[in-house]
Symmetry: D2
Amino acid sequence: MALNRKTTESIIVQRLQGKIALEEAVGSPYFVAHGTHPPSPMIIGSRNGLPPYNTPFLEDIDDRLDNIEKRLASMNASGIGYAIVSLTCPGVEGILDADEAVELARKTNDALYELYVKAHPTRFGFFASVPMQRPAEAAKELERTVKTLGAKGVLINGFTNINKNDVSEVQYLDDPKCEPFWKKLSELNVPLYLHPRIPPLNQQRIYESLPNLSQAAYGFGVETAGHALRIMCSGILDRYPNVQIILGHCAESLPFLVHRIDHRLAIGIRGTNGPYKKTMMYYLQNNFYATLAGVRRESTMRNTIDEMGEARVLFSVDYPYESNEDAADWFDGLQINENTRRAVAYENASRLFSIE
Amino acid sequence: MALNRKTTESIIVQRLQGKIALEEAVGSPYFVAHGTHPPSPMIIGSRNGLPPYNTPFLEDIDDRLDNIEKRLASMNASGIGYAIVSLTCPGVEGILDADEAVELARKTNDALYELYVKAHPTRFGFFASVPMQRPAEAAKELERTVKTLGAKGVLINGFTNINKNDVSEVQYLDDPKCEPFWKKLSELNVPLYLHPRIPPLNQQRIYESLPNLSQAAYGFGVETAGHALRIMCSGILDRYPNVQIILGHCAESLPFLVHRIDHRLAIGIRGTNGPYKKTMMYYLQNNFYATLAGVRRESTMRNTIDEMGEARVLFSVDYPYESNEDAADWFDGLQINENTRRAVAYENASRLFSIE
Amino acid sequence: MALNRKTTESIIVQRLQGKIALEEAVGSPYFVAHGTHPPSPMIIGSRNGLPPYNTPFLEDIDDRLDNIEKRLASMNASGIGYAIVSLTCPGVEGILDADEAVELARKTNDALYELYVKAHPTRFGFFASVPMQRPAEAAKELERTVKTLGAKGVLINGFTNINKNDVSEVQYLDDPKCEPFWKKLSELNVPLYLHPRIPPLNQQRIYESLPNLSQAAYGFGVETAGHALRIMCSGILDRYPNVQIILGHCAESLPFLVHRIDHRLAIGIRGTNGPYKKTMMYYLQNNFYATLAGVRRESTMRNTIDEMGEARVLFSVDYPYESNEDAADWFDGLQINENTRRAVAYENASRLFSIE
Amino acid sequence: MALNRKTTESIIVQRLQGKIALEEAVGSPYFVAHGTHPPSPMIIGSRNGLPPYNTPFLEDIDDRLDNIEKRLASMNASGIGYAIVSLTCPGVEGILDADEAVELARKTNDALYELYVKAHPTRFGFFASVPMQRPAEAAKELERTVKTLGAKGVLINGFTNINKNDVSEVQYLDDPKCEPFWKKLSELNVPLYLHPRIPPLNQQRIYESLPNLSQAAYGFGVETAGHALRIMCSGILDRYPNVQIILGHCAESLPFLVHRIDHRLAIGIRGTNGPYKKTMMYYLQNNFYATLAGVRRESTMRNTIDEMGEARVLFSVDYPYESNEDAADWFDGLQINENTRRAVAYENASRLFSIE
């Protein structure tokens, strides 16, 4: 560290090894076929319809979704020791036919177990896919996957399509029909990752001329934060207080907003917004974890830690939609204390998922 | 400050005098009559329809909107030296008939000038109302109000209804038809306060069972942040780089989100989201101010200052929908340095609006 | 939470119950007699000599040091469930005669055990006093006190007087003679609280006309931070890496300064500042805890958490030199998330000291 | 920004142009000769005595102090548009003979004006040196230098030696004899940069075995913070409330400590610590600026902004004792908003010193 050095204007980032990532998407040999209904813009349709992403980003997306060797190489280059993978968005939730959903979930879980966990037990865990079109089946599949295949929890892509003939008829997780799923989730005591899904087309007026805004840039977060608020308001977390829900993208802006949401709900007539018993702030701090997936801004991370505590914030990437290397360069280079860095990088996830 | 004191568990807050507030709603003798179309939930309809606010909050809302002596007493009790008032939401924007909108705007501006500014020049300024149903008329009325009545700028309640027979046909400010308004705004060099408005009913699926969420609790912010992003994407701020837009509620979560929005827009195909030339972050830091209206959470304020700088954050209340006294108790009691407190309390607003 | 309330300008703070405090001074029936040499300004001499504190603060200081019922009442009023008490400054370290020091330490430890721990096992723990004038005896007394009396660790008031005839001859804890103490501390695996002590008179030039600055206001912190740096530089923490040292007053400004200290040490000739193997930052984050004793400023607490992580910051008061009620009013009223509040209030201390 | 990029683990920092730096040391053709008494460790003696800096740091220190072309090249490489230079530590303050001090100050000021300001008016300003050994002469020289040579203010290296035969007899700036200097400083309305100086040897017990700690690593800051507190306590800032004092190194930890200092002073007997009328916090926020000289830690900078406001924090380097390029790499690469970055980088300094 000589002081009379010549500058390079470039800074070498020291790699923190052993990071754990948990919003990591993979394809499935069974998914593409099923994915034809509804149009799945993030997979098939993405090149012809929405989202209008540029070519370099999309050209090898299928390969990056499925190529395990490439994924491991990228994890190695980024200091990511362990990844919990899950079926890419919209997942089983976007399957219009309920029977097909049941079947796809089962096949996907078996495939993810075989391809990732069994083949690379020290590097991969996975989140179960479940057919929320039939909540009792979802509960059953969740139990099988957790108990038999060692799934680390379940990932659900927002709302679920429930009408073969109408893509706009959907079901949120606060629907009373979902009770069997929540009961089982609580009983198994594994986390739910609530993943974003593009808002339905007929709900996108504000973004109509701005296709990207409707998706990852802004709409994703709004849709998912709204969904989380519905769950909070529904009383589910009072009935199952041990349930833990993971939100990506620094909890989709809820850390910034939740105080004001509580403030306004407090002047509402009690009961008109659901039978919830605690504040939204309480649920956020006791039933939610936030990941850094897709976030590379220090003040956003700090706000999230400020409202949730450093024990509830988890590193993640969202590979292959985000770059492992970029995420690691940002995170490893943050000028923060090493205790907090390790907690966020792997200690919190290691404790939550019993990863050694 | 004896150390052997007995506790009271209560803390006396020292009042900071001279604060300036600028999201402060008033009624209008002309507004109620016009307000019958469309149903204006925040005013007339609020007791029968939405929002389902509890009685204490609503019982004297009309009085608090219009009673100037009561308002001044509350400002005095709260250390608010000066307030910039504006016609309460949805304002002229919610008038279905364009002719009526033109007339209401003019009458409202004259009335606010007479009742507030002329009567109490050291205590009140006002934001103009303009009929965006006819942008050229809006530009004209803005010029008249600023030049003749000394308006401090203009306040617009989100989208504007533009069809007598269909309340769902609305116009956002990025509509090319609004160009005359932006041109005049830039020419007059006064700020625009972009105020929230409840999202249209047909856009509220995510909140459907949660009436409060659709409004101040969450939907307000989403609607307004989305609107701000449309303006940013439209290129207006490149054509009129001196335009300054004020957002309430700590800029409606944009400080938390804008880095990620830019990150995702960057992988979109250039041009598909509008002809904008700079990043959303750039616009936020150069063309926007954030007020604390409705916010009483330190980490949220800090995140806003972190992303916009302390010179672009402004105290405000949202009286009478929020309590002047509560807002002042919170703000005056914050354990922050006095230079930043004064900047946010009145110095920034004083500079922006030439208030002495 | 009606919005049309009248202000009181006072805020009721909700008490957080169960807080743990650990820089809590008590007298000793044996201390006053011993305390006559050297002059002990904080106890006897304080009324005639330094510090020139005002009357209300001092008039009942002896009573507050020793009156256990009054202490418990104050703890109850402040939500402090458990306190780890220790002999008040300068403690055994200020005894000039080594034999007396050995005797005082033993008697004090027995007395504290009887009066506090045995009498109120759910409310009090204690830190051992040890005669550092004879490090081997100190190690022995530490072992006895921890194993027999259940002491939670040891508290040392900075440097130790080691010459009967010269009060300026003192010994810091990095003195090689202290090795037996460090060895035993590591073996017993209990923390050391490094408490401030007034810098010797012949080292106070900078404060000479400013008696208070030399003490709690500024000099205390400088003396103690310097002492901590000596320990870091000495290599002790490399030889005994499990040693944990607690510093009061948000670690005496080291969180703010340690990066720069490392930066400057890095350009020094290796070895001239001691045989240390890691950075000061490393030691601070791995071998130190910080308490809030005497601190009631949010930005200072935040900076400490920023550099040490929220798991290494501990609530404390410094009763009776600080007010339990004031400290609790400040801490309980902080607008921070409840997870971090609980961690700092009692979870971290509970884990560190095995308090249930 | 393709997401499928390969990592380099290095990050290119974008240079912010136009930064202003103001703790920038230069030599003087007259200084070395005078510097022989007292031993000046930072200049002559540094290679034989203290500080024991490693060779790469020291080998070209004289060249870097005096070589203007090299300095300009380094400024260019670092985006530093303008530097306010000053005679390197200990400066005129370390001259034992008062007559020599008067002469050296005058010659130095003339030389700095000729070599830097006159030769490169768009790149350099300078701080006056003044002979505090004779305060009336110091006032006179300050006036001459400001009015005739356009000095941007004055820099003083802590205490001043005032006894030819005893290097330990020194004078701090709160000495009543310094009144003529303060009167003139206030009248001219230019800032004083209070620069650190190594604590006298007989005051270094705490660092005795740790030579580097006594200097830049820790002792520098203690000495200077203590000096600033003496000035605050002395009442000078009440008599001359327009006086502005600049402290390096993020105000030498005062932002972190000042709340507690006030808290403890408040329990002292009024008057025993000086005739000051306001709190230390008040003075810090109204009469002080902090520079980043020597600091490259984000949390430290944030704490400083938190307590002083972003308008009172100024970029600086401390070239050639610090690297321009390293400082710029750190500062330019901080993930902070651009408004705050520009304020700290040059806007605040530009306003304070009327630099265009």
